[in-house]
Amino acid sequence: MRFSTQRQFTYTLLTLPALGFLLILLWPLGVALHSALTDTVGRFSTEHLHRVYSDTLFLRGFQFNVLIPVVTVVLEAAIGLSMAVWFYHIRRGKTYWRTIAIVPFAIPEIVYLLTMKLLFRQHGYLNSLLYTTGGEEWTAGWLQPESSLLTVVVILVDAWRVTPVVFLIVLAALEQMPESYIEAARVDGASWWQVTRLVQVPLAVPALVVALSLRTIDAFRIFATPFVLVGVQVMPVLTSVAYHYRMEANDPSAANVSALTLAFTLLSISLSVFFLAGWIRKKRT
């Protein structure tokens, strides 16, 4: 008993610095909340909320901040899962191909986005290639403001960067499955499509749920992709709108409103995602 108390004491002692630091995070959040909800003399006021919630930049940011992540996550799931199933069958040089597959995630985000900018800008490499093969009419305004093509490009670029994470997690789950499962299915005369659909995919679902619940939250925090590719004005999202208010318009209260809106939306989304994930897990067992 004496040992146990002593141990408990040490454990608590060791946890305190880390927990303390995480608790300190509440302080900036409190400051942000205060700055968002008070006027210049420090009285409670919804003036900043009204101001920001009627700003078209913010409203457009909110729309993109819903549209982009939702599509991104669906794409990540579809591509990540199919790549994992595909890679499961690779025998020769698997390590090398896997390395190549995770390149977009392994390189720094800003470098990845620079490569995408080199590729997609109006006079970039993709249009140059199209121009030399098919002439002027083959080129496209990939990053043209207000175009749906731009939205597609941003979604693809954003999804492609994080797909490797989904892919790796699902592949690891698939590889833990005994080979005899598939052998047995094959002996029973199942086609590869049936094997994939009926054996592999169901086995991958728990890993996929874990991967996606994390990726959903990350996807909603989108910042750099639209910010670096086209800038705040053309494709705002809540994070870059907050950046614009703080660093360009020098309006910290508005920045806090935008950032906190995202934080609270995320909080509710993460709560529902975790409940949903728990529910799915429970249903399966």
Binding site: T10, L22, A106, I110, V111, L113, R221, L238, L262
Partner: protein
């Protein structure tokens, strides 16, 4: 052998074609960065652009070296990344171990780490631009404020990764040590630390990369003493794509080392575990 795709079937063609396409999509753009970095800046405005540079030169690198205190930016980036990683592990590993050993702390620690992990950085960054000023850590020449900001990302990772790997370590091992007269601190250093080596190294790599690549905080906190990501953004924004590409190559060096190291960890299944955090 049956698991192999049968050779010469249409599937094989799709398979090989797919792999080649994947390599092209993922490695092609990196080649473009390299090409842009090694060609003079004036080539980046031509039309149509050629896939191979007309002239090979190190002009971008020498200009960068002359005009930016490139060495300062690099050491700052490196220092911030290392500082963040060290502090995260120093605070996070003991906490993760304690969470794995004590029922009482388990939920509290892991759940607060998860909440911190899910906070959008921007919600912390905006108030930090105000709070760091009186602490004299805003735009600090050694990046102290940025290290503090990056800790909010690194620490949850360190805690969760250590916790996940140590939870599987049987309690009996430590109990035996206690019977032999070992203190809890001794158990931490002699038993937990050596067993969790793989987890610690993968945490080290992940946190280092997170900090090395981080743009949001760096853009808002380091205004004149810039780390590499905001500097790269500055060149991209002004259309100096040659200089930006040169910086990108410099930023890639640690990443490439890390990818090579990751292979070993991948093979042992440590990385895919840590990506779940």
């Amino acid at each position: 052998m049956k698991r192999h795709l049968k050779s010469r079937s249409p599937l094989t063609v799709i398979h090989v074609g797919g792999l080649v396409g994947l390599a092209l999509i993922n490695l092609g753009p990196i080649f473009l960065v390299l090409r842009q970095a090694l060609a003079p800046e004036r080539e980046s405005i031509g039309w149509p652009l050629a896939l191979l540079p007309k002239v090979l030169s190190l002009e971008n690198l020498t200009t960068l070296w002359r005009t930016q205190a490139l060495f300062d930016h690099m050491t700052l980036s490196l220092g911030v990344a290392l500082g963040t990683t060290m502090l995260s592990l120093l605070l996070g590993f003991p906490a993760g171990w304690a969470a794995a050993r004590s029922r009482l702390l388990e939920r509290l620690t892991t759940q607060s780490a998860l909440v911190a992990r899910f906070l959008p950085p921007i919600a912390i960054a905006v108030p930090l631009t105000v709070l760091l000023i009186p602490m004299q850590m805003y735009d600090h020449p050694l990046g102290l404020g940025l290290i503090l900001a990056h800790l909010t990302i690194g620490l949850p990772f360190a805690i969760l990764l250590s916790y996940a790997s140590l939870r599987e370590l049987p309690q009996e091992l430590e109990d035996a040590a206690y019977v032999d007269g070992c203190t809890p601190f001794g158990a931490l250093f002699r038993i937990a630390l050596p067993t969790a080596r793989g987890a610690i190294s993968s945490a080290f790599i992940l946190i280092f990369l997170l900090s090395w690549d981080e743009l949001t905080y760096a853009l808002m906190i380091q205004l004149t003493n810039r780390t590499l990501p905001p500097l790269l953004y500055y060149y991209t924004e002004f259309g100096m794509l040659g200089s930006a590409s040169t910086l990108a190559i410099l930023m890639l060096v640690p990443s490439v080392i890390v990818i090579v190291l990751l292979q070993r960890l991948l093979r042992r299944g440590i990385l895919s575990g840590s990506l779940r955090m």
